[in-house]
């Protein structure tokens, strides 16, 4: 035994920066605690304690990220992770997104069978995986973190066990997702083989020093890596799981996935392209540009003519991934900032739609367009939030979406990709067709125009299904809050711009 200890002590153990890792540990611990807390029977525990613990975990972790690690810029665990502004900003994004999801799931009747503890616990695990991914700068960490968030997500998608759609989406996501993971893994393996290192910085050095840039092994590796990442980020033509899974998964999960999955993947893409494979930028720039175009076109086309709002949002997410990719393609500080900024804005724009869908599902109206008819009169607060979100998603002023697009366009033009900027706006033009269809469904139902002022009076007097939405004050609140955020940051985007700048600078200074 002693010898064992002696041997162990001679092994060069990696230095563990415990302080820096606190937020990650908080998440990990919180996931376990939440799981065990759910064993306590009783409605109070199930409805109160468990969600409370989950929220507390997330908030605590967030506080550590935001305050505890403030201004920190460090390699952790021998460079396996890097905790910097990029990681911090994105981690906060995941946490915020998870909190939104919890609010949406809080009183959801559909998660009864699955077990609340499992749901919250898995959600926190996903956040942990994403947070790790955002700080990963080693191929091993990348894969591990990616799977850490992917596998629980498969389960979460299937969380509504009684519903065929949920199961179908879970199994589809699992199979297709695993294909993506395997492809990514193979790509990472080839990259490792070509460069002899799993560390981003070392790969960068290897690529810039040798003539390795033209090595077929490496190039195939990069290609496969891109495919894996593109899959996770819903970039066409690897996007096809997105609408199906979005539709089938429970709405709170979809809401979470819509933002967080994309954000996590883009955090990695930014780091990977901006750090690891930057020396061969001329090789991959055209590929990503082409992918961006295809994604924008396919996403926007697919979103037209949908019946299901969740599918529509799925496709819209595909299109948005295309826009985000433009910021990556130009491979500049401005591009990175634009991508981060757009990602932050995207969080605000995406909340209200899912809150509305949740409310409509609970009202028994379903998540299709039909469920939206007359929402403008029944629940004006929800309808307005949804309207603002749609306008923001389509990139019209005076919303944060406009500033985000403006930023991306500026980055594209600045990076000599003006034609990609044109594609962005043409995509936006197409997108308005379906975003505004949503708005039209809420406000311009056949009866909406015909109704006279008199009936409006009756509605305002409270003789309407208004009460229906008042049953979900938390949904209304979060939707209004997010919509307000979309508008406020459209007029005063300063804080988000600062965050985006810090995040971009933090990882780009490594290569500069």
């Amino acid at each position: 035994m002693n010898t064992l200890i002696a041997v162990a002590s001679t092994v060069k153990a990696p230095s563990v920066e415990w302080n820096t890792l606190i937020p990650y540990f908080v998440l990990a611990g919180g996931a376990i605690v939440t799981l065990f807390a759910s064993l306590i029977a009783g409605r109070t525990a199930q409805r109160g304690l468990v969600p409370l613990l989950a929220v507390a975990t997330l908030i605590a972790s967030g506080v550590f990220f935001a305050i505890g690690l403030h201004d920190l810029d460090a390699n952790v665990l021998s460079g396996a992770l890097r905790v910097d502004d990029l990681a911090r900003v994105f981690s906060l994004l995941f946490i915020a997104s998870a909190l939104v999801s919890i609010v949406l799931a809080w009183r959801s009747p559909t998660l009864q069978d699955f077990g609340r503890g499992e749901f919250y616990s898995l959600l926190i695990t996903v956040v942990l995986g994403m947070a790790l991914l955002a700080s990963a700068q080693n191929l091993v960490t990348v894969f591990l973190a990616l799977e850490l968030f992917s596998i629980p997500l498969y389960v979460l998608c299937a969380a509504d066990l009684r519903r065929e759609g949920s199961l179908e989406s879970g199994i589809k996501y699992l199979i297709i997702g695993s294909l993506g993971s395997a492809t990514l893994l193979y790509g990472l393996a080839l990259t490792y083989g070509a460069t002899g290192s799993t560390d981003f910085a070392a790969i960068n050095v290897a690529l810039s020093s040798a003539k390795i840039g033209d090595d077929a092994l490496l190039l195939v590796g990069v290609a496969l890596t891109f495919v894996g990442l593109a899959f996770k980020a819903s970039i066409a033509p690897f996007h096809q799981w997105t609408p199906d899974v979005y539709e089938g998964a429970p709405t709170p999960v979809t809401a979470f996935m819509a933002v967080a999955t994309k954000a996590a993947t883009f955090a990695l893409i930014l780091r990977y392209t901006g750090q690891a494979i930057l020396p061969i930028v001329d090789h991959w720039q055209p590929v990503l540009a082409a992918l961006a175009v295809v994604t924008i076109v396919v996403g926007n086309l697919g979103a037209m003519g949908q019946k299901s709002l969740k599918r529509l949002l799925g496709y819209s997410g595909v299109a948005q991934a295309g826009y985000l990719l433009v910021g990556v393609v130009v491979s500049s500080a401005l591009g990175a900032r634009a991508t981060v900024f757009y990602m932050l804005v995207y969080l605000f724009m995406n909340v209200a739609p899912f809150a509305v869908i949740t409310a409509r599902e609970r009202a028994g109206a379903g998540e299709g367009f039909d469920g939206l008819r007359g929402l403008g009169r029944e629940a004006p607060a929800l309808a307005w939030s949804m309207t603002i979100s749609m306008i923001a998603l389509s990139g019209l002023p005076i919303t944060a979406g406009f500033i985000g697009k403006l930023f991306l366009i500026e980055a594209a033009v600045d990076g000599d990709y003006a034609w990609l900027a044109v594609v962005i706006v043409l995509g936006s033009a197409m997108s308005l067709v379906y975003y505004l269809r949503v708005v039209a469904a809420m406000w311009m139902g056949a009866d909406a125009t015909a109704s006279s002022v008199a009936s409006g009076d009756a509605v305002l007097a409270g003789a309407s299904p208004e009460a229906d939405s008042s049953k979900h004050p938390e949904l209304v609140a979060i939707a209004v809050l997010a919509a307000a955020g979309s508008v406020v940051f459209g007029v005063w985007p300063g804080p988000l711009l600062d965050l985006a700048r810090d995040a971009a600078i933090s990882f780009l200074q490594l290569v500069a």
Partner: protein, 107 residues
Amino acid sequence: MNISWYIALSAVLFSIGAGGLVARRSPLVMLLCLELMLNGANLSLVAFARMHGDGGGQIFALVVMVVAACEVVVGLGLIVALYRNRLPIDIDELDHLKDPQKADSAL
């Protein structure tokens, strides 16, 4: 032995896995194919680790094995759930989630 043979073999494994994934309809077999793909990658990882003479690749391979196990567990769990819901254990019949082929409305 030349490293390229290992890579070739791993590529073949990977491709067989990918091909099987497309060809087979049973989720169970598809999971097997996925394992094949992962193991293909593992093979190359280990081979590269030998080539470069560092442990990174081997550690990577170990990590992958754990992850693969997790994946399979979840996959099997879902298959069980499908079975319990009396759903067909045939991936082609799980096609209720798809796009409406006729547009809901004109533009």
